[in-house]
């Protein structure tokens, strides 16, 4: 049995989403390319929200804690009296804490994005073409010869402007 890859390109988001749902019913998990962030596509493919959230949360907490550690630690190491303000001037330190929380949270978020979405990548993925970053939604399904016909039909009636089949 030889594998084939079907690359369908859609001009319309709705139809694309519809087709994806159909494919899911057929127990096929397509690879989707989209020029725009489409909630519907995401909803159609995933149940749970992205894991990046926990990266950001962790980063934020780490940042806040390190903020406290930095300010209080250094103050107590050299407990210098500046203008009679307490050695642990919490109200003032809260600002550092806040900034560090944001900083670490933000960086963690970006890092998390790259990690979870396996980026950067150097090679274009199978079936990708320049339209998918511009004006077309792309569905890529790899299957074996046998059911390819059925899937191609399904894609077609789903409203793909064109479906190309490539050997793997």
């Amino acid at each position: 049995m030889s594998e084939v890859r079907l690359v369908a390109s859609f001009a319309d988001e709705e139809r694309c989403v519809h087709t994806i749902e159909r494919l899911r019913e057929a127990q096929v998990r397509p690879q989707v390319f989209s020029p725009i962030p489409s909630e519907k596509i995401i909803d159609a493919l995933y149940e749970r929200p992205s894991f990046v959230r926990s990266w950001v949360l962790a980063g934020g907490i780490f940042g806040a804690l390190s903020g406290f550690a930095l300010t209080l630690g250094t103050s107590y190491e050299w407990n210098l009296n500046a203008g009679g303000k307490p050695i642990a001037s919490i109200p003032a330190y809260l600002i550092i804490v806040f900034e560090l929380m944001i900083l670490c949270g933000g960086i963690a978020g970006v890092a998390g994005f790259f990690f979870t979405s396996r980026m950067p990548v150097t090679e274009p993925l199978a079936g990708y073409n320049a339209h998918f970053s511009a004006d077309r939604f792309g569905l890529v399904v790899s299957c074996d010869e046998a059911e390819s016909a059925r899937l191609e039909a399904l894609l077609k009636e789903g409203g793909a402007d064109e479906v190309t089949r490539e050997p793997v």
């Binding site: 050299w78 210098l80 009296n81 500046a82 203008g83 009679g84 303000k85 307490p86 003032a92």
Partner: protein, 973 residues
């Protein structure tokens, strides 16, 4: 204080401040390591040695102690053993250091070629030239050689005399431009003696000064200011808490007037009339001391025609004011009248006032055995000038005097000088006279030379060289002695080899007089240690000569409708201070002007004459014209233009040259005032002052309270908020918590503290332009505010106080510094870490007192001024913030000393420079943890008077507590 000197080490010093001291002398800087081949026991690197000597800046003759580090004198402080200064030293005295290290000092002998240019020559050539000229002159006949100098101590003056006679002459003239010789003449008339009295202001209850500015320049400012402070200190008098009542009669409100209860503005020359009128009141009221032995009738006839109304018509001074002065003077137990004008009448009247109230010997005393006046009578000077004009003088030696600058054009000294073929000038910084001289000899600065002084009976000051000469200069005494010997003077006529011998001999003579039994060298060594020999002099009993009453002064008349009143500048004096950058940069306390001279004009007069502030105006008298910029101010009586002396040099070094105008140029000989015409030129020439506003805007920077309130026990209320307001838990200061108490009432504004701060902390001088840009570097300043008119009755005449870092416990400057450059030490000092400062200048923004200073440029000290820098204090570079730290270097050194000596710190052992210099001891420093410290006791004893600047508004908790100024509620005098 002066360390004990063994006899051996004394000999070392005698040979000029110790061999090791020699090295730094005229090297670029004392930076390179000093090789001690033979370690000198007075020269431990890093440890200062102290040498007692005397101050020669003015006639008061205060004793000073020179602080010497690695062979360089770095600071002058008052000599506590000296009865006159008693440890304090005025700004001028301290600035004499900059005379010593002045970059423009004559470094070598010079001779003026026929082309009028100066050629550098060696001392040998110079002396040969001098002696050659002298001998030809001496051969040519008698009195062909003349010596014109300002008095420089009995010994030197005596030597000069001997030297002249060796050259077959007797023309020695000792001259002071601002000598108060009329006082002596008046004394001559009244008491038949030619000396000036000493005063005990602290013995008096009432004081009237007729133009005697004893806080700034008159006679002996430090001593008199100290007495005045005591006089103004609240104390029980006749069962009532009072302060002395004082009035100043004169054209300008100077510091003295500002510290009095009343300033009676009069035109110059009217003082005498006021004095006579006051006397009139006394006589009429019968406030004549019964045992003064005056015949009322004579007095009556004497004061006849001086009834207040008549005088008031002539002088424009309200009659009731005069009556008030009379009452205050007559009813006081112990009163004193001072006269400082150039006319004899005022002095006579003042003496009479003192005499009739029985204050002779009490507040005013003539001392038995006062030294004769060092000054020559005016006649001698006139004679000399005449002789010069008649080409009778072939060699004129001018030493330490600047007649070209300081003499009235009427004296025509300039022309006379042109008639002298060979003029020898001996001095430090070449001045206007030097420009006219043919031979210029660099002589030692007093701090490099041997000298003695006899300011008054019982005080014989001894001056010793405290360091190796900075330049290739010689001791004037030695120069003279040498040439005297060259004239063939034998050991009988001139028995001494050097000036040192001469001074030594003088003291051996003194020892005989005193009948001291010690070995002569011990006696001398002791004198060196003490900076002189101080015996207490008895008051001579004087009797008044009624003949005075025969020639009663004629009524003054209205006087010119626009009069010029010239007064000596508190720092530049008669111009001799102008070459010292400190004295130029420290603001004149009353008008707060720097680096300039000015003409004070009352707003009304200015309006009448159509003169705008800062406008260049020409002052024209019968003597000449000067152009100076106008300062419109209420510190001068309307109808009078007041102008300080001291500026307008055409030479005299980079700091003095070409600033302001010389007021001598419009004065008649001996006069200090003149009728004047004013032309507004329309040109602007902005006077520079570091102070912006005279108005305190109702803020509690300087506070005052009336003696009546103090007696009643009522303190001015300060605003409070309901309930607790403290945000932070207090910090603990386990060891010490340094603090300061400043008695505003005692502060006279003399700025000695400011000068001391400049000297101690290496403050940079930035010049007029810098000041104009608001970049003056002084860590402490004299705040001066004038009360708004509507509050005049409930305020002193002027608010004056030193303002320096308040060392706040809640210092606003500290937490804003991002790098802890500003922080609080464990001893409660608001420290500034110069190396850590990155120069955000945030601290100064947040400082309510604006006492931090920023280095806008890299500070510079033209060589050899840098030799004065205090090695204990960093020199701050560009971009760094600096500030007062209570002289932390002094604190630390004493603490180390205590640690090594394994002892506790003694109270008032640590003295910051400002406190040390203060003549009135207004500033006291100590440990706030030690309730018994003198500083804290001062607070407790004056609880009602204490206040802290801006504490109510900003909760800064300053470590400096001020004691309120005390004034008399007006109209009650």
């Amino acid at each position: 204080m002066s360390e004990g000197l063994s006899r051996r080490s004394f000999l070392k010093i005698a040979s000029a401040a110790g061999a090791a001291a020699a090295i730094p002398g005229c090297e670029p800087a004392g930076r390179q390591i000093i090789p001690y081949v033979v370690p000198d026991e007075n020269m431990i690197p890093g440890v200062p040695s102290f040498y007692a000597t005397t101050c020669t800046e003015c006639g008061a003759g205060c004793g000073v102690v020179a602080r010497v580090r690695e062979g360089r004198v770095i600071k002058l402080e008052g000599n506590p053993k000296d009865p006159i200064g008693q440890g304090a030293l005025c700004a001028r005295g301290q600035a004499s250091l900059q005379g010593l290290y002045n970059p423009d000092r004559l470094a070598h002998p010079f001779v003026r070629g026929d082309d009028g240019r100066l050629r550098r020559i060696s001392w040998d050539v110079a002396t040969r030239a001098l002696i050659g000229r002298l001998s030809t002159a001496a051969k040519a006949g008698k009195d062909r050689v003349a010596y014109l100098a300002r008095p420089q101590g009995p010994t030197l003056d005596k030597i000069a005399g001997l030297w002249l006679s060796a050259w077959n002459s007797s023309k020695a003239v000792f001259h002071e431009p601002l000598a108060n010789s009329v006082a002596r003449q008046a004394a001559q008339d009244c008491f038949g003696r030619g000396d000036a009295p000493v005063y005990h202001l602290d013995q008096a209850e009432a004081l009237i000064s007729f133009g005697a500015d004893f806080i700034e320049t008159w006679e002996s400012p430090i001593e008199l200011a100290r007495q005045y402070a005591a006089f103004r200190t609240p104390k029980e008098r006749r069962g009532k808490l009072t302060i002395g009542r004082a009035a100043y009669v004169g054209p300008r409100m100077n510091l003295t007037a500002a510290k009095c209860d009343d300033w009676v503005g009069v035109k110059p020359g009217h003082e005498a009339a006021i004095a006579m009128s006051v006397l009139y009141v006394l006589v009429r009221q019968g406030w004549i001391s019964p045992n003064s032995g005056f015949d009322i009738a004579t007095l009556k006839s004497f004061v006849d025609g001086y009834d207040p109304d008549a005088v008031s018509q002539q002088t424009g001074v309200p009659a009731e004011t005069i009556v008030r002065l009379g009452q205050m003077f007559g009813q006081a137990e112990g009163a004193v009248a001072l006269a400082g004008t150039e006319d004899k009448e005022t002095h006579v009247a003042a003496y009479v006032l003192n005499a009739v109230t029985g204050n002779l010997g009490k507040t005013v005393a003539f001392l038995a055995g006062s030294p004769p006046s060092p000054l020559s009578p005016q006649a001698d000077l006139d004679g000399l000038i005449a002789a010069m004009n008649q080409k009778q003088i072939e060699v004129l030696v001018i030493a330490g005097s600047n007649p070209i600058y300081a003499m009235s054009p009427a004296a025509k000294f300039n022309d006379a000088l042109r008639q002298v073929p060979f003029v020898v000038w001996c001095g430090l910084v070449p001045d206007e006279t030097a420009d006219k001289a043919h031979l210029l000899l660099p002589i030692h600065h007093p701090l490099e030379a041997w000298r003695d002084s006899a300011p008054r009976a019982g005080v014989s000051g001894l001056g010793q060289p405290v360091m190796q000469p900075v330049f290739e200069s010689r001791d004037l005494g030695d120069v003279i002695l040498d040439s005297a010997r060259a004239a063939g003077a034998d050991s009988k006529t001139v028995p001494w080899q050097t000036m040192a011998d001469a001074v030594n001999a003088g003291f051996q003579q003194l020892q005989k007089q005193l009948g001291d039994k010690n070995k002569p060298e011990d006696f001398f060594a002791q004198a060196l240690r003490d900076g002189g020999v101080f015996a207490d002099a008895k008051a001579a009993d004087v009797k008044f000569n009624p003949a005075v009453f025969q020639n009663k002064p004629k009524p003054p008349g209205a006087g010119p409708d626009l009069a010029l009143a010239v007064y000596p500048h508190i720092f530049l004096y008669d111009g001799r201070g102008a070459d010292k950058p400190w004295l130029q940069e420290i603001p004149e306390p009353v008008d707060q002007i720097v680096w300039d001279s000015w003409a004070e004009i009352h707003p009304d007069t200015a309006k009448a004459l159509g003169i705008a502030a800062n406008e260049m105006i020409e002052l024209q008298t019968d003597q000449g014209t000067v152009a100076v910029s106008a300062l419109v101010s209420e510190h001068v009586r309307s109808g009078v233009i007041a102008m300080p002396l001291g500026q307008g040099h055409t030479s005299y070094g980079r700091y003095a040259k070409g600033r302001g105008a010389n007021a001598f140029a419009v004065l008649a000989p001996g006069a200090r005032s003149a009728a004047v015409k004013v032309h507004a030129t329309g040109r602007k020439s902005a006077l520079v002052s570091p102070l912006y506003s005279e108005d305190m805007m109702g803020r509690n920077i300087v506070e005052a309270m009336s003696i009546e309130d103090l007696a009643r026990g009522v303190a001015p209320e300060s605003e409070t908020v309901p309930g607790p307001y403290e945000m932070y838990a207090p910090f603990k200061y386990p060891t010490h918590k340094w603090g300061m108490t400043i008695d505003v009432n005692a502060c006279t504004g003399c700025s000695a503290c400011v000068a001391a701060c400049y000297a101690e902390n290496n403050l940079a001088v930035i010049g007029k332009e810098g000041c104009a840009d608001g970049r003056i570097m002084s860590w402490m300043r004299i705040e001066r505010f004038t009360p708004p008119k509507e509050q005049a009755d409930k305020a002193p005449l002027m608010y004056i106080t030193p303002m320096l870092c308040q060392q706040c416990e809640h210092a606003p400057c500290e937490p804003v510094c991002p790098v802890f450059a500003a922080y609080h030490t464990e001893e409660g000092i608001n420290g500034q870490n110069y190396n850590r400062c990155v120069g955000t200048r945030y601290c100064e923004n947040n400082c309510p007192y604006k006492v931090r200073r920023f280095n806008w440029y890299k500070p510079e000290w033209p060589a050899p001024l840098h030799l004065q820098l205090n090695p204990d204090v960093t020199v701050r570079g560009a971009g760094v913030m600096e500030k007062c730290t209570f002289c932390i270097q002094r604190i630390v050194s004493v603490e180390i000393d205590a640690k090594t000596g394994d002892r506790k710190l003694r109270d008032s052992e640590i003295v910051p420079a400002c406190a040390q210099a203060c003549p009135t001891r207004a500033i006291s420093f100590g440990d706030m943890n030690d309730q018994q410290s003198e500083m804290m006791r001062r607070r407790k004893d004056n609880q009602l008077r204490t206040y802290r600047v801006f504490n109510a508004e900003f909760n800064t908790l300053p470590a400096i507590t001020y004691l309120r100024e005390i004034y008399h509620e007006k109209g009650r005098a």
